[in-house]
Structures are given as C-alpha cells and as structure tokens.
C-alpha cells in the first residue's frame, strides 16, 4: 500500500539519520540513566524499600528521556529544512504523522530496552515478563502518539524546547498514573487481571488520541 510505504520510508529515513549521528539516542539514554541515579539519591535514605518507588522512577525516567527525544525529532527537521521537503512530497499528511510517531516510538523503546536491565540491577527487581512489557509498550505508545503532535507544534513557537513539556505533561498524566499503578501492582506480584481497568484506560487513551492526532496533524504542519 502507498500509505504504508510512505510511512516506512519516513521511519527508515529517521533511523538512518540517527545511525549516522547517534545524537538523539545518546542524549536520551544518558539523560534517562542520570534521572534514575538522581532519583536514587533523592529517595534512598527516606524510603525503606526502593521497590516502593521504582515504578515511579522507571516511568519518570522514560517520560523525561522521551521528551528530550521528541524535542530533537522536529528540531532537526525544521533546522535543516527537511520538514518543508516532507510536506512537498506527494504523500498524505497522516503518513508523515505515523512515520514520525513510529520513529519516535522506536527510539523510546530502544532506550527503555537498554535502561530496564540497569534499573533491575540497581534496584534488585525483575521487570522481565510479558505483562511488564505490555504495560510499558502501551504507555510509551500513548506518549509517542500525543508527543509527536505537540513536538511539531512546539518547534514552531518562540520558546521551543521549553514549550514541549508544558504542553505534554498535563495531557500525559493519565498514562503516567496508570503506568505507575500497573507496574507497581505487577511488582507486588499481583496478576495483570487485577489492573484490567487501568489497562483499559490506557488502551482507550492510546486509540482515542491516535484518532485525534490523525485528524489534527495536518493543521499543525500546514504552512
């Protein structure tokens, strides 16, 4: 299909650019690691068991690192003028959205995959089960779906990098709350069915905002 060919071409473009510079990935990963370490010192002496705060630490680290990555995603396009090129290409605006969004998703997933083992070692936990991975994936997807639209907006404002977290965090809150809640329950050894309603909430969020983003992205990149 033409649509998905355009989408994969955009993802592939981002991956290739990233493989050459490794700008986004390295800054995201180092920042995520730093926030985990900072949280460790912020909580260590006050919290009896790091397991109690680990879900929060994981989700906040992913959110912070993801915000950093999202900022770069459109700044690069804008500064080098490649966004204009993308818009001139004879493809649907929605294809540009899905291409950029899935690219962002991929970067955050890769960072998370490398971050998780380190978190497991630092805090002596196990996060390697399909339930944990499902929860993380659903949350990160919601993050990328909303974040891609906002980062395309933020890059066109005066404040740029500062704007994105201000726009993104309040809208993102349901995902963050549900993510922390679910990761926490799974760490306490409860089955996934105990958090089914939270899972539903994130699923509704993901589907709903993908549709809204699909409908509105054209207005954001329009010149």
């Amino acid at each position: 299909m033409r649509f998905w060919k355009a989408v994969t071409a955009i993802i592939w473009k981002d991956i290739r650019a990233e493989l050459r510079t490794k700008d986004i990935f390295s800054s995201m990963f180092v920042f995520a690691l730093l926030s985990v370490i900072v949280f460790n010192f912020a909580f260590e002496l006050r919290v009896p068991d790091m397991k109690m705060v680990a879900p929060g630490i994981v989700w906040v680290a992913i959110t912070f690192a993801g915000t950093l990555g999202l900022n770069r995603a459109f700044v690069i396009e804008q500064d080098k003028g490649s966004l204009a090129g993308l818009l001139l290409a004879p493809v649907d605006r929605a294809a540009i959205y899905f291409g950029k969004m899935l690219g962002n998703l991929l970067f955050i997933v890769v960072v998370t995959v490398i971050l998780l083992p380190l978190v497991m070692i630092f805090f002596n936990l196990s996060l390697l089960s399909w339930q944990h991975i499902l929860v993380l994936l659903l949350g990160i997807y919601g993050f990328a779906a909303v974040g891609t639209v906002f980062s395309a907006m933020a890059v066109n404002t005066r404040a740029r990098e500062v704007m994105l977290p201000i726009l993104l965090f309040p809208v993102l809150l349901p995902v963050l709350v549900a993510g922390v809640k679910m990761t926490g329950s799974l760490l306490d050894g409860e089955p996934l069915s105990d958090v089914a309603n939270w899972l539903q909430l994130v699923a509704i969020y993901d589907v709903g905002f993908t549709v809204v983003a699909y409908l509105t992205f054209g207005f954001v990149v329009e010149e």
């Binding site: 404002t157 005066r158 704007m163 309040p170 909430l201 207005f219 954001v220």
Partner: protein, 231 residues
Amino acid sequence: MERSSRTLMIFTALAAALVLFAAYMALRGAPDAVGLTEDNTFAQRIIYFHVPSAWLSMLAFGVTMVASIGYLVTSKRAWDSLAVSSAELGLVFTLAATASGAIWAKPAWNVWWTWDPRLTTYTIMFLLFVAYFMLRSAMEDPARRARFSSVYAIFAFLSVPITFMSIRWWRTIHPVLIDPNEGFGLGPGMMNAFFISLFSFTVLYAVLLAHRYRLERTKEQVEELKEQLGY
C-alpha cells in the same frame, strides 16, 4: 448605542440581579444542613458558590473545545476569538471553585488542600489551560496561533474525562452530590437555592463571555486598522 450592545447591557443588569438573588438564597434562603457542627453548617453553604463555579469551568472549557473545532473546520477567526474568550473565563471559574473548595475543606477536612483525585484532576485541568495560554503567547502569526491552540484545546479537553475516570478507582473523600444509588444529596429547600444559583451563574458566564468576545473582536479590528495605516 447599537441595538446589540443595548441588549447586552440589559442582560448584564439581569445577570447582576440574578447573582445577588442567588447570594441571598445561598446565605439566607436555604435551610441549614442537618447533622453538622456549627462551623461546618456555615461552611456547607459554600456549595451554592462552589458547584456552579466548577460546573462553569467545565462548560467554559467545553465551549472552548467546540469553538476550536469550529475554527479548524471553517478557518474563521471569530471561532478562535470565542475559544480564547471562553478559555479565559474557564480559568477564572476554575480559580473560584478551587478557592471556595479550599475554604470549605479547612473546617470539613481540617486541611486547605489534599491530594484527593478530584482535586488533583482539577489542578491538571487548570494547568492544561494555562499551557493553552502559554502556547498562544509564544506565537505571533494569528493564523498559526489559532490553528495550534485549537488543536491543543481539543487534546486538552478530551484528556480531562480520561483523567476524571481514574477518580472512581482511587479512594476519594470528596462528597458526591449526585449518587446513582442515593439520588440527589440535598433537601428540597436546599435544592431550590442550589438550582437558582446554578442558573444565575450560568447567565453570568454567558454575559461575561459576550463581553469578552466583543473585546477580542474589537482588538482584532484595531490590529487590522493599524496594519492598514502602516503602524
């Protein structure tokens, strides 16, 4: 005076009279709540101010979202003016509801603020529309500003019910006014006063919105005239 502004003046006077009447009903007209301590009996009367404010903040942000969709569909600047006017009023009523809630919470819960889910959601809604105004102020081009803030308003307003849903699953200590099992939580006399103030505040909102909208349109006209004159 134009006819439209004369009509607006009449409605403004009507809104003022209604709000005064609502204040009388809230302070004198409504019966005392039963089974509360003396402090809490007085504090309870804040409901006639608190609930209408909260309702209007939701209504105002809802109007902002509808107007934003209107802008994206038609590209008419009037819709954007309506959206920003309503969003501003929404922020005012959000602050009014939060402040009155805090005044009630001190005698009832013994704290000004608690991280109750409903209060938290409300704070998030406040922040969403603060972000809306920050986004607007970070762009000069009116068309782009209108487009971006319309898109953001849609995202922002839709995220509120999702955040709200999680309320029911967290333990909440906020009173529930309309309970599906127990019906309405107010006696008949209180109900009268309650609906009078709800109605009066809604009229007040509509009048304020009309004023604010006119101001916004005038501002745009001045901008256009300045441009034509080469300022």
